[in-house]
Symmetry: D2
Subunit: 288 residues, 4 copies
């Protein structure tokens, strides 16, 4: 456990919009003496849904997280809220899944050592053994779970067992080139993050840079999204692009793409770990 000068409570709320929500919630926080260090809110005028996120200095409130939750429950019930309250002294546990391309993995490992990602790296799971030495050098467990193309069931049972064993909060597909079983996607809904190497919805599926090259687009992109049972169709968290010209071959596109993928996945994951991403239907609210 890292020693921390101060920790925070993060209150995240989604409910039908109506007069008085902010007043009620901020009033409750003020009654506890709570010092709000960051506040975001959003009213979706199309669907009438309201969203908010408060970051509250934990030391300013004379309650632990559990007691605070109990005290808040009646308000949540009154406004029909979906809500959560997290304590930053509990660092979320993350499982990274990779195949052979290491760029996202190397990038996330650096950011983790540089304290850009506030989480525990519970372990790395890969269908190849190539990246073991790199991962173990960082002091992180590496599990090689080969996927037999004729029987994927065994492999994904083992993957699921490992995820459960380490009590993962979040699973990151950091260029993991296998499709997860629908049941696993549904079980960990809103907790599995993928990086897709195209600007979705363009070029879903296999070999997106080759598809982009064939179409002659002038910008290529990458998309960080939550995984759902439907391939490359889940709620988008973040996207970015890179300019290309007729001079660039598919291998240039792949190379540029690595840089976008790294940045987009790192931003998306950081926001997710800080409870900044709220899912609303197949879209996201990102309080970045």
């Amino acid at each position: 456990m890292v020693l921390r000068m101060s920790h925070y409570y993060r209150l995240v709320v989604s409910c039908p919009d109506r007069v008085g929500i902010v007043s009620r919630v901020s009033g409750f926080i003020a009654e506890q003496g709570g010092s709000i260090t960051e506040a975001n809110q959003h009213s979706d005028l199309m669907t009438g849904q309201f969203f908010m996120r408060y970051e509250i200095l934990a030391d300013s409130i004379a309650m632990d997280a559990e007691t605070l939750k109990e005290s808040f429950s009646p308000i949540a019930a009154e406004f029909d809220m979906e809500w959560g309250l997290s304590d930053t002294s509990h660092r979320p546990r993350v499982v990274l899944m990779v195949s052979q391309d290491s760029h996202c993995l190397v990038d996330l490992l650096y950011r983790w050592t540089a304290a850009e990602l506030d989480c525990e790296l519970a372990c790395v799971i890969s269908n190849h053994d190539d990246l073991r030495s790199l991962v173990e050098w960082h002091g992180i467990d590496y599990h090689h779970v080969p996927v037999d193309r004729h029987d994927k069931t065994t492999a994904f049972a083992e993957v699921e067992r490992l995820i459960e064993e380490v009590e993962a909060d979040t699973i990151v597909l950091a260029r993991y080139m296998q499709i997860l079983p629908a049941a696993l996607c549904e079980r960990y809904q809103g907790r599995i993050i993928n990086i897709h190497h195209s600007f979705l919805p363009s070029f879903a599926g296999a070999r997106p840079y080759h598809q982009a090259y064939e179409r002659g687009v002038k910008l290529i992109g990458a998309t960080c999204h939550y995984v759902t049972a439907e391939l490359d169709a889940g709620p988008i968290i973040e996207q970015d692009v890179h300019r290309v010209t007729h001079c660039h071959t598919t291998s240039d596109l792949v190379r540029f793409g690595r840089d976008i993928e790294k940045l987009v996945l790192a931003r998306g994951l950081r926001w997710h770990l800080q409870d900044r991403v709220l899912i609303h239907g197949n879209k996201t609210i990102v309080f970045a």
Copy 2:
């Protein structure tokens, strides 16, 4: 007066940060039945200052703007607030000042006709007569106030008289190539917006694209800022850049620059007109 389906009250507040501000303000709005359609807040942890902006559906409150202001005054006093409350049914009055380059003027006129800028264009003032026909075609008054380089006093007295006469809320220097007198800058502090054709603080002063060309930078920029008595040193509202290479001459830089200037000025002005820009020392909070 344009017929509007609905109008809004905009409450903008800056005060020393302490527990309970949001609760008090949102509680007050809720008591009036006020429906908040957009809310932004920011705590500057370095200076301990708090900022907020609420957009409230006017029809949801059974008070006119003046009565609402009176009712809110005690809260403002209690928290030592600098604050303002505007009613969007009053459209701010804008004076545009230009010289000979028309790109920002053409752009702002288009945006105004397309309802992107929620304001009255009170008049255009220019030290040249070149753009009269364009402006008058849009049904806007054009005042030619030549500036004698040996006696600028007369000209700027006339400029000031015109600004007063039309009761301008905001003055926009849309590539006006004269330096305003310090006294005028101070009188209209926080209400004069300039577009400078460089990425400040680089290349302040004259011929910034030539300076940029000489230095061999790989991106050129433009800066929208509030005008203060010190040239090109006021609070920055918005900036953007455009990539250049060794292939580009100074005239290419000028051409690219026009596009950045147009976009940056238009964004900055739009935010200003919507009370989204709060000045804090020599910096801005922009609730974009």
Copy 3:
């Protein structure tokens, strides 16, 4: 005819790649004493095709364009070239087609008056009469050709007649909301430029900003492309994007989109008019 200090010959070549092309072409130019002010070349390693563009100071060669073409013909034949040689003293004739949205039209008219687009504006054709006054103020002919949804044949016969009458070199669909007949697309292949308001291939067809909003993408875009008989599927000339968040409604997307559309169409058209765009299958080489 505008008086010009100097004019240029532009030689554009596409041929199967082999040793000695550049040597042969540059040798020929040098023999005539030709001063090359800009040169671009590209070898497509996938298809073995070679592309080049030379800009040559006309005064440095003691031949007019026709004579130069004749002299160059044997080399072109030897290397099996598709090629063209244009003289910038002939300004290409452009027809603009619009419907009711004026942003691209206003933008192109400004750029034309600012000499950013080196062409004659032959006329504007619209299926509405709304923008007549704006166009005529610029001294350009405006033709209102209404399109009857039950019989489009008559309208497009008239459109084609007008295009022929003014001897158009290039047709620009500057937010023209009708689909051109396939025969017209084919007849003017490589000479009709469209701006599509999405980042193709995403969101082809109708209401792309609404499609983008529904999918929850984090960047929206626009695409300038050559028109082919297949809707929104022609060779892409230029694209760009703008960041959006959950805060933005479809009307914000439409507003941001206007700015991207203007920039992307203006860049694409400028390059086309300067013979910088070479079509290769369904892709483009852009010597920008």
Copy 4:
């Protein structure tokens, strides 16, 4: 030595512009049967200087690099060229210099293992011992050369000795926080590359992100440039920026900055290693 399917000769030329250069050079290459896979040229109309870079398939020419150089010499003399011809089968030797921040180092090491940087990493020199384990894990020598602030001479003599010993072609200051002696800068002119953590010429010198925060800029940047005796004033190779808002603290700026620094340095170094960067006075031609 890595096994390579094919290697290339790279011819880079700078000379006074005049008619016939391209013809003469391309004619010479064609006479040898040389297959040009990439060609770039640029005429600087302000200074009358001409620049070119050819990439030639080595196997297409029946000469080794030395013989080719000898054969080309008379042409170079005739046109008063500064020029160089490199053979990509010789990989340039690079020394990386770092202090304690590891982000650029981690990034360059990844790119080197991924074959994005075509060079030998001769060694890493640091004024701290912190990053030894990381570097040695990659199989690269690490030299800790502490710099005594009262006597820097000894340290830089040792640095220079190491650079000579490994026969470095290029030295990269990958966030090396000491100022190199002027004599060393001059000796390795055009061969030392630095990453400065601001958008130069803004915020030269110390703590640029703090300077940027104080000024309230809306974009922060990084600059890759050749090192000269004058601090942060050498020819710029590449720059890029990242958007910031009032929400961001200096530590956010530092964090965003790391990503820009990594990308900008990596691009600049890659281009330098591929002989794509030509220095012209205090500016660069970059045939990217």
